[in-house]
């Protein structure tokens, strides 16, 4: 493994305390995937252009491909694997109900971004949905279903 700093980095990932001996500059994406084996977060571009690597840092979206793990020290990281217990988040339910994914590769990033939106904006307007998800690319072209699924998830969310 890449040579570590003298002191380990402590952070919480999906609610689990982790102590990692890694280069503090290592992007969170590679910590998640290569070190922790959480492969739900994807590499799509490495330059914050596509959003496939989106995760939550203390509830806010960060693009993990360019977020050094040092920034996550002492904080909470949530990945797609930790978004819910067994796929029960309203977004995940809506995605399944509407058959949103095609190849599925971008969808974790789409969902994580949408999740942050719904937390701040439980009934987002179509415009708000587009603005928040503008940075998440889908090459298969599932956009029209993504839009519909975010609205459906808003309906499914209690309160």
């Amino acid at each position: 493994m890449t040579e570590a700093t003298s002191s380990p980095i402590q952070l919480r990932v999906n609610g689990v305390e982790r102590e990692l001996r890694v280069d503090p500059d290592m992007p969170l994406l590679w910590v998640l995937r290569d070190v922790l084996g959480l492969t739900g977060t994807k590499y799509g571009c490495g330059q914050a252009l596509c959003g496939a690597c989106s995760v939550h840092l203390d509830g806010a979206v960060v693009r993990s491909c360019c977020t050094p793990v040092r920034r996550a020290e002492g904080r909470d990281v949530t990945t797609i694997e930790g978004l819910s217990e067994d796929g029960t988040h309203p977004l995940q339910q809506a995605w399944i109900e509407l058959g949103v994914p095609q190849c599925g590769f971008c969808q974790a990033g789409q969902i994580m971004t949408a999740a942050a939106l719904l937390r701040k904006q439980p009934k987002p307007s179509p415009e708000q949905v587009e603005q928040s998800l503008a940075g998440n690319l889908c090459r298969c072209g599932t956009y029209t279903r993504i839009r519909a699924a975010v609205q459906r998830a808003a309906e499914l969310t209690k309160g």
Partner: protein, 238 residues
């Protein structure tokens, strides 16, 4: 030298070394398109400077008239303000630009209610506290858009000057605060350490701050409102 047409003529004008001489000539009452009838003042030619460099304050000692000297100092420091590294974010609209030619920011981002982006696409979702080389993402502490009141895009030096001095639009800053901000602010500093093959603003932060200080101490005069598009505009950046 190529002019970046999208930001209006001022950008190009202020960055060309030869143009500064022209500007001073235009700023002199008689050298403009015949608005006054004062006796002709000779045009002052300042030494040429490379596009990536800033003239030092001492260079402007050659300008005899104090008001003119002060406003010339401003015109010089405005070359930094209107450089892409600054003006890409000092925009009026909802989206910053990127690159050397005011290109669309990719991915598409929006200002958001607090100038920090919208939910899920906050500035700091991608931009870190420092530049990243492999992912090419620029960064500095507190990366965000300046408020619309601090938009500089497409503005003439005269407008910029008035804007910078106006506490309503400059974040309630006095002149001394402006000097300090120029010297110390990390986002300002970024303009000269932009990372990955991005062309820095002219000169250095220290030189810029020195010009700001010299401008303030010389009376913080603003250049006259320009009423003509200068010829021979050029740009030093690419």
């Amino acid at each position: 030298m190529r002019c970046s047409s999208q930001t209006g003529p001022w950008l190009g004008a202020l960055c060309g070394p030869c143009c500064l001489a022209l500007w001073l000539a235009c700023a002199a009452p008689v050298a403009t398109q015949g608005t006054t009838e004062s006796p002709a003042a000779p045009a002052i030619a300042l030494p040429e400077v490379a596009p990536g460099a800033l003239r030092a304050p001492a260079v402007f000692d050659a300008v005899p008239d104090p008001a003119q000297r002060s406003s010339a100092l401003f015109t010089e420091l405005a070359r930094v303000l209107l450089h892409p590294r600054c003006v890409n974010c000092h925009v009026e609209g909802d989206s910053p630009a990127q690159g050397a030619h005011f290109e669309q920011h990719e991915p598409p981002v929006l200002r958001g209610p607090e100038d920090r982006g919208v939910v899920g696409m906050e500035c700091e979702s991608c931009h870190q506290d420092r530049n990243l080389e492999l992912s090419r993402v620029p960064g500095a502490v507190g990366w965000r858009l300046p408020p619309r009141a601090m938009a500089w895009q497409g503005k003439a030096p005269s407008e910029l000057c008035a804007q910078l001095k106006d506490p309503v639009r400059n974040g309630q800053r006095g002149l001394a605060d402006i000097v300090e901000h120029s010297r110390r602010d990390p986002l300002v500093a970024w303009g000269w350490q932009p990372g990955f093959e991005r062309q820095p603003a002219p000169g250095s932060q220290a030189e810029f701050a020195a010009l700001v200080a010299a401008w303030v101490s010389s009376g913080a005069q603003c250049p006259e409102a320009e009423d003509a598009v200068p010829v021979n505009i050029g740009a030093n950046h690419d």
